[in-house]
């Protein structure tokens, strides 16, 4: 009786695995397959699974188009700056939260947690006039500064948590030896928290790389567009060159996929920190 029940559970588990793999994996496989097809075969009926004339043509076209290469450069530069600034500013704030008691601490902390609930679209309209007033419309800074508002809170909460696990005795020892607080933070606390900071950095990179709404509205010219906006621009411009759009999608997803596959543990730590205590 028990053996039979176990068998049924096993069959159910395997069935769910197969359905799950198809549900999660098939669309991604389909994206890759289509990026190698000639455009004429995209909507062939019955579908062409692996094209006889499969080629890297779509990828080559993207790499030969300076406008599209520019989308990638913009995305890398912006995400890179956002990660660096978020970490520097966030580490400093986390140090204050972790090592000091001061007036307003509780209040500032509450604001930082609550910012995660503020919808970007609510800030969009004031940002538009603010960014124009600051004369940074259609520049990297328009995106870098606005992204920081949404990347910093998460960074501060995570990093404060990591710093709290490190004994105060460690940085006090540095200060007794004549080192400054600043030195203790960057030479002792930060190196000890590298694994946590890697998680934070990756999550921040993902947030910046994937952002769409601000990238769409706070930049105007094609040479300032990022990958998420750029992919969508291909739709209008090239009269539905589906193979190129799929190739661009694959290329645009690669940085995050590589981070995920190679640093799974850190990536998952970053993902779960919002809900799992």
């Amino acid at each position: 009786m028990v053996g039979r029940k176990k068998l049924w559970v096993k069959i159910l588990v395997i069935l769910i695995l197969i359905i799950g793999t198809l549900w999660a994996g098939f669309p991604i496989l389909w994206m890759m397959l289509n990026s190698f097809k000639p455009n004429a075969e995209i909507f062939a009926w019955p579908p062409v699974w692996i094209s006889k004339s499969a080629s890297f043509e779509a990828y080559i076209k993207i790499f030969h188009n300076p406008e599209q290469v520019r989308f990638f450069i913009n995305s890398y530069v912006i995400a890179g700056i956002v990660v660096c600034l978020t970490l520097v500013v966030g580490i400093m704030a986390s140090y204050a939260f972790s090592r000091f008691n001061f007036r307003g601490k509780e209040f500032i902390n509450t604001v930082i947690v609550a910012v995660q609930a503020v919808p970007p679209i609510t800030l969009l309209i004031p940002y538009l006039s603010l960014i124009v007033a600051l004369k940074i419309y259609n520049t990297y800074w328009a995106l870098v500064l606005t992204y920081l508002v949404f990347t910093l809170p998460y960074c501060i909460l995570m990093t404060t948590g990591y710093f709290n696990t490190i004994s105060r005795a460690l940085d006090e020892a540095v200060m007794i030896d004549g080192g400054s607080r600043w030195y203790a933070l960057w030479k002792v606390l930060v190196p000890t928290s590298i694994p946590g900071l890697v998680s934070v950095g990756m999550y921040t990179f993902m947030q910046a790389w994937n952002e769409y709404l601000f990238a769409l509205t706070l930049t105007k010219t094609n040479e300032m567009r990022t990958v998420p906006v750029g992919i969508n621009l291909l739709m209008g411009q090239h009269a539905y060159e589906w193979n190129q759009m799929m190739a661009m999608s694959v290329l645009g997803s690669l940085p995050i996929l590589i981070l995920f596959l190679f640093f799974q543990k850190y990536f998952i730590a970053g993902m779960t920190s919002g809900a799992v205590k």
Binding site: M31, A117, P120, T122, I125, V149, K277
Partner: protein, 298 residues
């Protein structure tokens, strides 16, 4: 001697603020000021477009709250959010539990965990374009439907008024469940095996163990997940904008696309600001509950 001591004391007092300075400056300029601005815009008659807009009080709020299109958007948003959350939760839970069983080798588990988590790694525009390709009238999904004889002819997923909202909800379900799955998996792995063994000794079956041990242990995580997901899905813009643009005929219009259209295609910034403030209020209320919940867990 005394003055040196005092300066040291003052220095110690202001040190934390020095470390916080960049964060505070940034949050004031790019968060506090914009929120005040959007509230102000919502009370002007022609914000941004007019050089000298006049104060109209709550007139815009009355206008938005009596706008048929706004309520249509609110209704669609509610459907989109509720169905997404329930589906995310169910799919996430099932996958997490399967990945946590002892029937599978750790290699299979590792591989499946990666595959199941994949949709989370893609940006909204990639997801939108990919599903537009698959949901095209002559796309792969319709091919499967016709070949498997589920329906004599294909469905025009994103262009038909009756199914477009369901279609964008499915896309959102696909892109969001891994967040639940990964978090719940971490939660499941935190439940001690002793509890399961004790429950098995008591003769409890799978379903009873699930209700009395698994669910209560996951409850705090689930509450956090639902609140985060609620806020995120409520303001989902990119996915809908790039698949249907709110159409056809407003059938997938959500609060976010409503705000965007009022601002950027109709240039009614005051109306857009008003709807944006209403959205903010809902999100902040949930945010407060989230903060309280997180605090009580600590």
């Amino acid at each position: 001697m005394n003055t040196a001591n005092q300066t040291a004391k003052i220095r110690k007092k202001i040190t934390p603020y020095m470390y916080l300075m960049p964060t505070i400056v940034l949050m004031v300029i790019l968060l506090v000021v914009p929120i005040c601005m959007v509230i102000k815009f919502s009370m002007l008659d022609e914000a941004i477009t007019s050089k000298a807009p006049s104060f109209v009080g709550i007139k815009n709020y009355v206008k938005v709250l009596t706008d048929k299109n706004f309520w249509n958007a609110a209704k669609n948003t509610m459907f989109f959010v509720l169905v997404s959350i329930v589906a995310h939760m169910v799919i996430g839970m099932v996958f997490a539990m399967v990945l946590n069983t002892r029937y599978l080798s750790s290699t299979t588990k590792g591989l499946c965990r990666v595959i199941f988590a994949l949709p989370w790694m893609f940006t909204a525009s990639v997801i939108a374009i990919l599903w537009r390709l698959m949901m095209n009238p002559s796309g792969i999904i319709n091919y499967l439907i016709v070949t498997l004889h589920l329906s004599p002819e294909g469905v025009d997923w994103l262009a038909s008024r009756s199914v477009a909202l369901i279609a964008v909800t499915i896309i959102n379900i696909w892109s969001g469940y891994p967040f639940y799955m990964i978090s719940m998996l971490a939660g499941l792995q935190g439940i001690s095996t002793d509890m399961y063994e004790a429950s098995a000794l008591d003769g409890a079956n799978g379903i009873r163990t699930f209700i009395h041990i698994t669910l209560p242990s996951l409850k705090p995580i689930l509450i956090s997940l639902i609140m985060l997901d609620f806020v995120w899905t409520l303001q989902q813009f990119a996915l809908i904008w790039m698949t249907t643009g709110g159409g056809p005929v407003g059938s997938t219009e959500t609060i976010a696309t409503y705000i965007y259209k009022q601002a950027f295609s109709k240039y009614k910034y005051s109306i857009a600001s008003t709807a944006a403030v209403l959205l903010l209020i809902i999100c902040i209320i949930i945010g407060i509950f989230y903060v309280r919940h997180q605090r009580s867990e600590e």
